[in-house]
């Protein structure tokens, strides 16, 4: 084609720009493989023990051990807005695990989210937190994992929504959300607080669930600890926006993180049960530090007058309630099912339950956690002892669950109705 000189110029510039862009994109997206190691180094026991504690604080098994018979062999499906990601095998198996990963390769995966062979890992693996671990801690974790029994378990295929199956796209997520600068202590705070802050950020990755996420699946850094979600449960805000009707004490928080039960507050349900199970096995001093840090944020929540300060059973609906029929249905279910354990004069613990005016789930900004609690109850993780509450999914119809939640919200917590309650019940019950 015989283009005018001017147009040919523009064409050349566009071509040059495209080449430059392609080079930049390639540089952002491409990472080299790291040579496989042929022999596993040996580790002293103190390092392995420290690594074991870090693995508990980081709750690695929560995703990497879906089958207790195969510790760290991976395979747990995780639903994300971008598709289903499966956790990988992090045992030292040479062919399907990380047996051939050198410390350099392990460190790069923890800090940059890059697999040994150079492919980018999905941020369901919270390397945007682990990136701020000290090198000594990464070394110890490496020692722990490289001394676990090797298990042959090939990775399961992910099921991503187009175009997220193309892993190099994660590089652009990393440009936005991967801040790999070193973790900085706050000199104004105590050593214990700083230990807790480090563990919460770099290891336990609390913000992965308790900070809301953006459309792109990254943490919304303008709203730290403002409340997020985990497996469709609401993960409560841990700052001034905490929905808790009563102020937490540091001791209650410590007991909660160690046992899953906090007097006057909650029994851990849903994904938090797994967190508690791991923290119960970690070094108690580290859990105390986590409690100190978390409590300093929770303590920002202003004191509020709520029904939680009052003892006694929940009231009957008012005769002039505009939604009287539904509230009466909810009350009947509360009185005849819930109140048997949750009525006045009981505490939270084995064989007893929290008076519902104190239950945090009633005060959440959305009804998801309450619906999950009513539908699924509380069952301890597989093979673990723990709290038990029967699930009502097979006992109550969706309409009844909705009526119960509406009643509890209004007459238990004294809060305005959840506008999305019926949708949330439908969604929770969708097959």
């Amino acid at each position: 084609m015989d283009l005018p000189r001017r147009k040919r110029h523009v064409g050349r510039w566009l071509l040059a720009a495209a080449v430059v862009l392609a080079c930049v994109a390639f540089a952002i997206m491409w990472r080299p493989a790291i040579t496989p190691q042929t022999a596993t180094p040996s580790f002293d026991q103190a390092r392995i023990d420290r690594g074991a504690n870090l693995a508990r604080l980081g709750m690695c098994a929560s995703c990497h051990t879906p089958d207790l018979a195969k510790p760290f062999a991976g395979g747990k499906p995780m639903e994300t807005p971008f598709g289903t990601v499966h956790s990988t095998n992090i045992t030292p198996d040479n062919d399907t695990g990380i047996g051939r990963w050198s410390l350099e390769a392990f460190t790069r995966s923890m800090r940059k989210g890059v697999s040994r062979d150079g492919h980018l890992l999905y941020p369901a693996f919270p390397y945007n937190h682990y990136t701020r671990m000290t090198q000594a801690d990464i070394d110890d974790l490496y020692a722990y994992f490289m001394t676990r029994p090797a298990i042959h378990a090939p990775a399961r295929d992910n099921d991503m929504i187009f175009p997220f199956g193309f892993r190099p796209l994660v590089a652009f997520w990393n440009v936005l959300y991967l801040d790999d600068s070193a973790w900085q202590p706050d000199p104004k705070q105590s050593a214990e607080w700083n230990r807790g802050a480090y563990l919460a950020d770099a290891v336990a990755h609390c913000a992965a669930c308790h900070t809301p996420r953006t459309m792109l699946g990254g943490p919304d850094l303008s709203r730290p600890l403002d409340g997020g979600e985990a497996e469709d449960w609401y993960a409560p805000a841990l700052n001034a926006r905490s929905p808790s009707p009563l102020p937490w004490t540091r001791q209650q928080l410590h007991t909660y993180l160690r046992t899953g039960i906090a007097e006057d507050h909650a029994a851990a349900g849903g994904p938090m049960q797994d967190v508690v199970m791991h923290l119960s096995q970690a070094d108690e001093r580290d859990v105390a530090a986590l409690s100190a840090w978390t409590h300093s944020h929770l303590a920002q929540a202003p004191a509020r007058a709520t029904p939680a300060q009052q003892a006694g059973s929940l009231p009957t609906p008012k005769a002039d309630d505009p939604d009287l029929q539904r509230m009466q249905t909810g009350y009947a279910l509360y009185a005849n099912a819930c109140a048997r354990c949750h009525d006045a004069g009981r505490g939270v613990g084995s064989g007893a339950a929290l008076p519902l005016q104190k239950a945090v789930a009633l005060y959440d900004p959305d009804p998801r956690s309450l619906i999950h609690l009513v539908d699924e109850g509380i069952a301890p993780p597989d093979g673990e002892p723990g709290r038990w509450m029967p699930g009502y999914r097979t006992i109550l119809t969706g309409e009844q669950t909705g009526a119960l939640a509406a009643y509890l919200r209004k007459y238990g917590a004294g809060q305005p109705a959840w506008p999305d309650l019926d949708d949330a019940v439908r969604k929770a019950r969708a097959p």
Partner: protein, 162 residues
Amino acid sequence: MTTYRLQVNGKQHAVDTDPDTPLLYVLRNDLELSGAKFGCGLGQCGSCTVLVDDQPAMSCLVPVSSVGRRAVRTVEGLGTGDKPGVLQQAFIDEQAAQCGYCIAGMIVQATALLERTPRPTDAQIRAHMSPNLCRCGTHMRILRAVRRAADVLAKQPAGAKR
């Protein structure tokens, strides 16, 4: 007192009782179906398990007023002494009962599993049966009985009655 119409094991019943009466009491006292047992009254043990619209439910926690038109099935609906159902026969064959108090709930709970998942894995059986407790400690036999029933059903021609 209110009159409630209940469908239990395929039959219609009319029961006069208070709205907050647990379904378990109605089954045992009014309808004289004493298979489902009162264990803890708190939904913690599963001995009162019945099926409500094919779903396992702890009948001690179900107010009779909330049942509505949903169909209730109890262990009595699964077979008789002369003609036990497949699960009932499997529990006999494995001698899964010690004192027997939990067994009706166990059989009903297992019925719900096999109706939806005819070929369960051992892990699925364990997970599904986990709400039901046996204080005598025959859990291993109970799990074997459920496995046996699943195997028997798998050999039956499609559509055969459970």
